[in-house]
């Protein structure tokens, strides 16, 4: 009991330190770096959601780029309309459209846009979750389907050249809620809004995993059918956690767009989706601070490496996948246990050796007799 409490409070201290750093970073970091951190916080928000579904519930979704993208596109459509004033968005004019397509209409209103940022990912997650989990499509079958979802969504977006900018995506935003996106005040407001969402998601998910619902999720991970025979309907819980993670990804996408200035099918496709999973693995799945650390560290590393040796990044991230899953399944968070694990291994080895010697002695004695 005591050790358990220590472990939890240790993690909490780390969480507080990280949030303190994020709170104060804009005061001593360049605006370029601050903007980068803000982007990483969006990723961290996605990572928390993926951890809820993968780390806690054991469902590996390789298609969360889709939900990130949906949130981002919803936001981008609003930004695009606002930036275009009364005219049509630029790419529509280029591809010969003369009238705004009907599905763009709701994005004229900022309020409806914000609602859609949450509603669209939720609805798709509900439909996909309902169709897969209710019919007990699980494990790797679900993972592959989710990957196919990402591929399908990306091709669909690329094909919508006229309506959603195709492979170029949506870009060239100038204002958000009437203010220029280039204003330092707007930028720092966006930073703190992102941070607020990140902290909010962290707190809400921390509460959820401590409640019984969190235990049910872990139970589903340990044995879905057993959970069913405990009287729970796993499908409902899985749909719930899938939607929860989709909403977090959607919100992250919406926060990402105005700060980065572009969303394209490249951010929705298979590769970015699976990269989101590795953030969680690197940080430490099954803990909530792990994914935040993972998203921040990995992406910071990505920026540093790609700035200096662009060739190396693919090798690096590739080896990270292999290294973390094979050798450090607990991620960065579990690093503090590594010395203890090594000592345990050595002790185990010693014991074995001693046992062997004992057995030999016994055997020798018997033979002697």
């Amino acid at each position: 009991m005591e050790s358990l409490r220590n472990k939890i409070s240790g993690r909490n201290i780390v969480a507080i330190l990280i949030f303190l750093f994020l709170l104060t970073a804009p005061f001593y970091m360049s605006s370029f770096r601050t903007n980068m951190i803000s982007k990483y916080m969006c990723y961290a928000l996605v990572a928390i959601g993926i951890d809820m579904i993968w780390g806690y519930t054991g469902i590996l979704s390789l298609g969360h780029g889709v939900y990130f993208g949906l949130g981002a596109y919803c936001m981008a459509m609003y930004l695009k309309l606002e930036s275009s004033g009364t005219g049509l968005p630029d790419f529509m004019t280029w591809s010969g459209l003369t009238e705004l397509p009907l599905f763009w209409e709701p994005f004229k209103s900022p309020v409806i846009s914000m609602i859609l940022v949450i509603a669209v990912p939720t609805i798709l997650a509900l439909v996909i979750g309902y169709l897969t989990f209710l019919n007990r499509i699980k494990g790797v079958y679900f993972s592959i389907l989710s990957q196919a979802l990402a591929a399908a969504m990306a091709t669909l977006l690329i094909g919508m050249q006229k309506y959603l900018g195709g492979s170029n995506g949506l870009t060239n935003f100038s204002t958000i809620f009437g203010k220029s996106v280039y204003l330092p005040a707007v930028k720092s407001a966006m930073y703190y809004i992102t941070l607020a969402f990140l902290i909010g998601a962290f707190v809400i998910c921390s509460i959820l995993v401590k409640k019984r619902v969190g235990k049910v999720l872990v139970a589903i991970r340990d044995g879905e059918n057993r959970t069913r025979f405990m009287g729970y309907n796993p499908a409902v819980y899985k749909v719930f956690v899938y939607c929860l993670s989709a909403v977090l990804a959607g919100i992250a996408g919406a926060l990402y767009v105005p700060q980065v200035g572009i969303i394209s099918p490249n951010d929705v496709n298979i590769s970015p989706s699976i990269e989101m999973v590795i953030w969680v693995a690197i940080g430490g799945k099954g803990t909530l601070i792990g994914p935040i650390i993972g998203a921040l560290v990995t992406n910071f590393g990505k920026s540093i490496i790609s700035e200096n040796f662009p060739e190396l990044w693919s090798y690096f991230i590739g080896f990270m996948f292999i290294f973390v899953i094979l050798l450090l399944p607990g991620g960065i968070v579990s690093l503090k246990d590594v010395p203890r694990r090594i000592i345990n291994k050595i002790n185990l080895y010693k014991e074995k050796k001693m046992d062997n010697e004992k057995n030999k002695k016994v055997l020798a004695k018997r033979q002697h007799n």
């Binding site: 054991g58 590996l60 390789l62 996909i128 169709l131 897969t132 019919n135 007990r136 499509i137 699980k138 494990g139 790797v140 079958y141 993972s143 592959i144 389907l145 990957q147 196919a148 979802l149 591929a151 399908a152 091709t155 669909l156 690329i158 094909g159 919508m160 044995g223 879905e224 059918n225 057993r226 298979i270 590769s271 699976i274 999973v277 590795i278 693995a281 060739e311 693919s314 090798y315 991230i317 590739g318 080896f319 990270m320 996948f321 292999i322 899953i325 094979l326 399944p329």
Partner: protein, 302 residues
């Protein structure tokens, strides 16, 4: 009518490539409970092997024998991809037996590394392979209807490979050992089957077939470091729809996905075709959540 027939032919052609790729995947998935995301990269390895061998032939072999390069290529694609598969299995995969989701992520990492390796060696732009001259023409049936020899050739190749695998799996001692290990690993091991060798060998052969698929792909267009990625999703869908560990599943799955994709793309557009195929797969899995052909077990949670 002509259009319809050529459409079916196209679908069959796509199916045959998927089948070549899915064959190895379905068996290793069923045997070892690992998903190999780097399987697409074995396709790439096969394709680049063909490219390299053609270049060697170009500079060293008299022109009239040039066409024989493809026979060497098929064999070498199989061998090289197989060797890569063997190395991957011994170094990494064997630590991941039964950990499906983990294996998926690790092998994704492997695929990133292999892609970058290809980029480093061959450059990131596509390269093209000149198909042998005898597949250049089309088989003209009527004025409007003609089949390209390239695609016919690939179909035949797929057919031979499937027949070969089926023969190995169901008629030889090694195949029987593979099936035994697939059904009950512990039991097979205790009966004296060396499951280590079975695993490594099966994985290598499965990778080899992906290499042949890559060799076949060079007929159809230029190849690049990411050629595997463009096929991997469809290949996996094939396995999922068909069911794990069964050849007949791989055949059915590739037929459904290949025909589906090509006809949906024909009737709508390339992008919508993918989406419709995805929806069809989801609907199919509603009825058969573990694929059309399954091996049923009694365990509670697997």
């Amino acid at each position: 009518m002509e259009l319809f027939i050529s459409q079916i032919f196209n679908g069959l052609s796509v199916s045959s490539i998927l089948l070549l790729a899915a064959l190895g995947l379905a068996i290793t998935f069923g045997l070892m409970g690992v998903i190999n995301m780097a399987h697409g990269e074995f396709i790439m390895i096969g394709a680049y092997t063909t490219y390299v061998i053609q270049n060697i032939f170009k500079s060293n072999v008299p022109e009239k024998f040039f066409d024989t390069y493809f026979i060497v290529s098929i064999i070498m694609s199989f061998v090289i991809a197989g060797i890569f598969g063997l190395i991957l299995e011994r170094l990494i995969i064997r630590h991941l037996y039964g950990r499906v989701l983990d294996s998926l992520l690790v092998t994704w990492g492997v695929s990133l590394v292999l892609q970058q390796l290809a980029r480093t060696i061959f450059g990131s732009s596509n390269v093209s392979v000149i198909p042998p001259s005898f597949v250049d023409n089309n088989l003209k049936v009527t004025q409007l209807l003609s089949f390209s020899y390239k695609r016919i050739f690939i179909l035949i190749m797929a057919f031979i490979c499937v027949a070969l695998v089926a023969f190995i799996m169901y008629k030889t001692r090694a195949g029987r050992n593979v099936r035994a290990t697939m059904q009950n690993r512990a039991m097979a091991a205790s009966l004296g089957v060396n499951t280590n060798i079975i695993d490594a060998g099966t994985f290598a052969i499965g990778s080899g077939f992906a290499g042949i698929a890559g060799c076949a792909l060079t007929f159809l267009g230029p190849i690049g470091p990411t050629i595997g990625t463009s096929y991997i999703v469809d290949t996996f869908m094939t396995v999922v729809v068909g069911g794990v560990g069964r050849i007949v599943g791989a055949i059915t799955g590739s037929f459904i996905i290949g025909m589906g994709t090509s006809s949906f793309e024909f009737f709508t557009s390339a992008s919508l075709g993918k989406v419709i195929t995805f929806i069809v797969v989801i609907i199919l899995l509603q009825i058969k959540p573990k694929g059309i052909f399954t091996i049923s077990t009694r365990s509670l949670d697997d």
